[in-house]
Symmetry: C2
Subunit: 333 residues, 2 copies
């Protein structure tokens, strides 16, 4: 990503107008060079990549401002779950055409979040495509050497903990697509709005990075569905888990839909797009973790226990009956 010189082309002008203001880090060289610099600071550099395709990860008529924010936030959520502090990001943007009406709010939303989360634009590439809009972000974070929080550190006896609420984004997407949840929510505009916002604008839990680093044995963010993601965490750790379904934190609107039978718990725990932190906390550290989360204004819920074994995690209802899950997470292929 490099901006205009004597021979400014459309692409360079676009970068200068919309993206140079986001490149506030010295290592971005004002997007005037071919590469950026991340300084060595003695800490490990955490690298994560998440891409979004129009019609797959967001809807063509989602507001460009939230598309820009979401593209960055899904990566910030990965950094938070690894215990890392954001350091910057690079952006690949594949566009059909350089439309100012779309680019201006996209870059504004992205820039506001870059500033809010302390994660400046370092560089990237802007290309044209005859296909759908696509955004790929690679984000960088810093963590003290050797202190990244892995998926693989869960131990039998640990609590299984999630932040926030689960399933909101999945219901929000259903509403946007006019599916059954939309009908069931027809009488509650503010709930509809909240759920749609949860789909369009994840709330990455970067304020919890230090608490995760200090207390979690294993952590990841919930992006493809709680059930599948917990399965991945357990597999990486060589353990299993038992989850108490009634303990899974739900927002009031989703709890209402569930009580009415308008949405199934199976769908909520496999729907994805939650961008909450899923982590395992040793029993003797749960109180400290919950306290620090509370101070940071983030709700956390203990939803189950890590157990020995290699079977897929079990999800038990209030009667202790195991829920059968035909599909535990979202897969692209």
């Amino acid at each position: 990503m490099a901006a205009p010189g004597a021979d400014a082309s459309g692409e360079d002008a676009l970068i200068a107008r919309y993206f140079r203001p986001l490149a506030t880090d010295l290592g971005a060289f004002n997007l005037l060079d071919d590469a950026a610099i991340l300084k060595a600071t003695g800490e490990d550099l955490v690298v994560t990549t998440d891409a979004m395709v129009e019609g797959v990860h967001f809807l063509a008529d989602d507001p460009p401002e939230t598309i820009g924010r979401k593209a960055l936030r899904v990566n910030l959520s990965d950094l938070a779950s690894k215990g890392a502090t954001p350091a910057g990001f690079v952006l690949t943007l594949a566009l059909g055409a350089a439309e100012e009406a779309w680019l201006a709010p996209f870059a504004r939303g992205l820039g506001e979040d870059a500033e809010r989360f302390g994660c400046p634009l370092l560089g990237g590439d802007t290309v044209s495509t005859p296909g759908p809009l696509m955004i790929s972000i690679t984000a960088f974070g810093r963590v003290a050497a050797g202190r990244i929080v892995h998926r693989s550190g869960a131990k039998p006896g640990d609590r299984v903990v999630v932040t926030g609420t689960i399933g909101d984004a999945m219901v929000g997407l259903d509403i946007l697509k006019g599916r059954s949840a939309a009908t069931a929510m027809a009488d509650d505009a503010s709930a509809r709005e909240m759920l749609i916002a949860r789909y369009r604008l994840p709330q990455p839990r970067n304020v919890l990075a230090q608490a995760v680093r200090d207390h979690a044995g294993a952590a990841m963010d919930v992006s493809d569905g709680l059930a599948g993601d917990l399965g991945k965490l357990c597999a990486a750790s060589g353990v299993s888990a038992v989850v108490d379904l009634p303990s899974i934190p739900l927002s009031r609107p989703v709890a209402t839909l569930l009580a009415r039978g308008a949405v199934r718990i199976e769908a909520l725990v496999s729907g994805g797009d939650d961008y909450e932190i899923l982590c395992t906390i040793p029993e003797n550290q749960f109180e400290a973790f919950a306290g620090e989360a509370g101070s940071a204004g983030v709700a956390v819920a203990s939803i189950g226990t890590i157990v020995a074994g290699t079977h897929a995690p079990k999800f038990l209802d209030a009667d202790g009956t195991e829920m059968s899950l035909s599909r535990r997470s979202y897969s692209h292929f």
Copy 2:
């Protein structure tokens, strides 16, 4: 990018089969986590991103093996021009479907080059798209603190230097598209093959990274056309340049086409896809630079001189007449 656990989905299986073998760096955690680690080593970390879209940056019927190689090589070329040693890369791959017949050779080519250039896969994201195939790579390199070579260090009196030959890839693409160059080359199959290979398989000059670091005042790689890229380098440096057109290094087949009038010099210097290094070398260091390049087996040519001024670089023919350039480089928009 994370590979299968108890609940392996198609996406995870695909990553495990095709991409885990490329993740040879310890910091990639076998693609079993949500993020990778780059260790701090006291050196600066150079970050560069280049994306390729089917039908825009490569042709749908290009061999998947060379598509994989090219996607990495265009990024390696950026690292080389900045004087950086490759450290690893992350890959975003947007696919219509997970076709083994395409993925296997793509990953094999990519993996062979990752090994050859010492640039292992660290992570990434694989997503589905209803649109054209797209590959975005963010590559990392290391350079001693403060020693990155910028675009902005050119000074009046410096020589303007390029590696290899210019225009081959542009003619190779013309041949693949059946344009006039194809007709003119109809009698020379080996030349056609060489030129097509130059389009499909850039030769990044990473063996020159140290020579560039030690001798170049300014450097970048030629990706969008020599004329436009030199204009950008000059603008970033606050200088201009005078280039001697007959000094621009051409391969034998391209020189023949030029002599026959089958291709114009204006097209060769604005065509792009060269992935050669363009740099400026102080006069008293040119001999040392050329000697080191020769030892590394890379041809370098002195094609002009940096001069004071802010006008676009001038390209003079054998008579000293300035060539007029309507289009100096490729722009996406």
